[in-house]
């Protein structure tokens, strides 16, 4: 499983990096940056789904 992050859809709401700071950070303007991890372990999949399910712009998917 990997995180798919659509930078074009991200509007900087910041739900992902507030909820799952181990997987997401914010840049200087408040937009999300994904920590490049490649394949996720079980705990990371849980965190990634939490971020995906809370993103108001549907910018994050886990596949």
């Amino acid at each position: 499983m990997k995180i798919q992050f659509d930078r074009e859809k991200c509007q900087g709401h910041g739900r992902c990096y507030a909820l799952v700071p181990s997987l997401f950070e914010c840049d200087d303007e408040g937009y999300a940056v994904v920590n490049e991890l490649g394949e996720l372990d079980v705990a990371q999949v849980h965190g990634a789904r939490l971020a995906a399910d809370n993103c108001p712009e549907f910018a994050i998917t886990v596949e």
């Binding site: 509007q11 408040g30 108001p56």
Partner: protein, 401 residues
């Protein structure tokens, strides 16, 4: 006009009517089920989408909908104001919008907002300290409203003591929507004149605040002129005060009437950030607006150029298609994909500031007063603001109950 709102709500709604102001939720729920994109002839024509999908589609469609004005009134601002609009970047369309917004975003990034936590906490404690000896006080007027006024005044570089001046302007702009155009222009000019005095002072004496930052800022290699600076500062004042005041007040209103939620947050303050997201969803204070650019059919609705869209993020947040049990306030709701700060390119630039203020305001209030309730069970004892920013303006609280 004294009509029954519920009798003809799908053809004649008015977001400033007493029924809407007191309790808009049944109106939106009814419309979502029967007429999800409703129309009213008021204000020269206004459409109201109540489904999340439609609100999102319009918020993301800058081709057919312009942000030239975002406050529904009987008047339309002049076309010549485009592409900046009256208060950039909220009133700007692409491509100008992006540059005007990116200039502001770093100041409102989570990293920079974190630096304001200690001073915000200190204001909250000072306000609460002044109420320690009282059994009953107005949590909206005496607590919630002062927090964003002081935070934004310091951030911008305006005197804290001018709080009443700002609040007067903000009230006139947001709630005086039915007043004649001449009066609205007069208010706006008075606000600009007030700000111009402070801009002149910052030109002579630069300091570390938002006004000095904007005076140095450039878009496409060109400095902003003072008129642009004044309009952007005006936006930050208007956008930063009533909105956050409303969110803090609505959260306290909920906790005053819901002892189990209050007790949970007192027992475990680490739940407050999750609860704040739910208060933002359930009591989202801000409805935005757009203007239809040209005649356009949306979801079978024949929209005419220059008609308004009331872009109700609060109604979207109650859509059962997106939220389970949308009418229940679940302070540990997860997931919570709410749209309280808007959707698309105009996402509230101050959202990280607002969240911080709401969280700190609740943390400090619950520490100072772990036990409180509504002072008067009569719903009319609490009054709510009219227009596109909704929150309690009179909120009598009895503490130590």
């Amino acid at each position: 006009m004294n009509r029954d709102q519920h009798a003809d709500v799908s053809t004649d709604f008015d977001h400033t009517s007493p029924a809407w102001v007191a309790d808009p939720f049944p109106i939106w729920d009814e419309l979502r089920g029967t007429c999800p994109v409703a129309h009213s002839d008021r204000y020269g024509g206004v459409w109201l989408p109540t489904r999340h999908a439609d609100v999102s589609a319009i918020a993301n469609d800058t081709e057919h909908f312009t942000s030239r004005s975002v406050v529904v009134t009987n008047h339309r601002p002049p076309m010549e104001l485009a592409p900046q609009g009256i208060a950039p970047p909220i009133s700007s369309d692409p491509p100008y919008h992006q540059d005007a917004r990116r200039m502001l975003l770093p100041a409102f990034s989570p990293q920079n907002i974190d630096k304001l936590v200690p001073s915000t906490r200190a204001y909250c404690r000072e306000l609460l300290g002044a109420m320690q000896d009282r059994d009953v006080f107005d949590a909206a007027a005496e607590y919630a409203q002062h927090i964003p006024v002081r935070v934004i005044a310091n951030m911008l570089g305006l005197p804290e003591a001018d709080g009443d001046v700002f609040r007067g302007f903000v009230h006139d702009v947001l709630e005086g929507v039915a007043r004649p155009l001449e009066e609205r222009i007069e208010t706006f000019l008075a606000l600009l004149a007030y700000l111009q005095g402070h801009i002149d002072d910052h030109v002579a004496n630069p300091r570390d605040d938002m006004i000095s930052f904007l005076l140095e800022a450039e878009i496409d290699g060109t400095r902003l002129d003072h008129f642009q600076v004044a309009r952007t500062v005006g936006l930050l004042l208007i956008a930063g005060i009533d909105t956050t005041w409303s969110a803090i007040g609505a959260s306290l209103w909920h906790l005053a009437k819901t002892p189990t939620d209050r007790e949970r947050l007192v027992a475990d303050p680490s739940m407050i950030p999750t609860a704040v997201e739910e208060f933002l969803r359930a009591y989202a204070p801000v409805t935005m607006a757009r203007l239809v650019r040209e005649d356009f059919e949306f979801q079978g609705c024949p929209m005419k150029a220059e008609e308004w869209i009331l872009l109700s993020f609060p109604a979207a947040n109650r859509d059962p298609e997106v939220f389970d049990r949308p009418d229940e306030v679940l302070i540990d709701r997860q997931p919570n994909r709410h749209a309280a700060f808007g959707l698309g390119i105009h996402r509230c630039a101050g959202s990280h500031l607002a969240r911080m203020e709401i969280r700190v305001a609740l943390e400090e209030f619950l520490k100072a007063f772990p036990s409180f309730e509504l002072a008067d069970p009569d719903p009319d004892a609490v009054s709510w603001s009219a227009g596109q920013v909704r929150g309690p303006r009179v909120l009598p609280i009895k503490v130590g109950a």
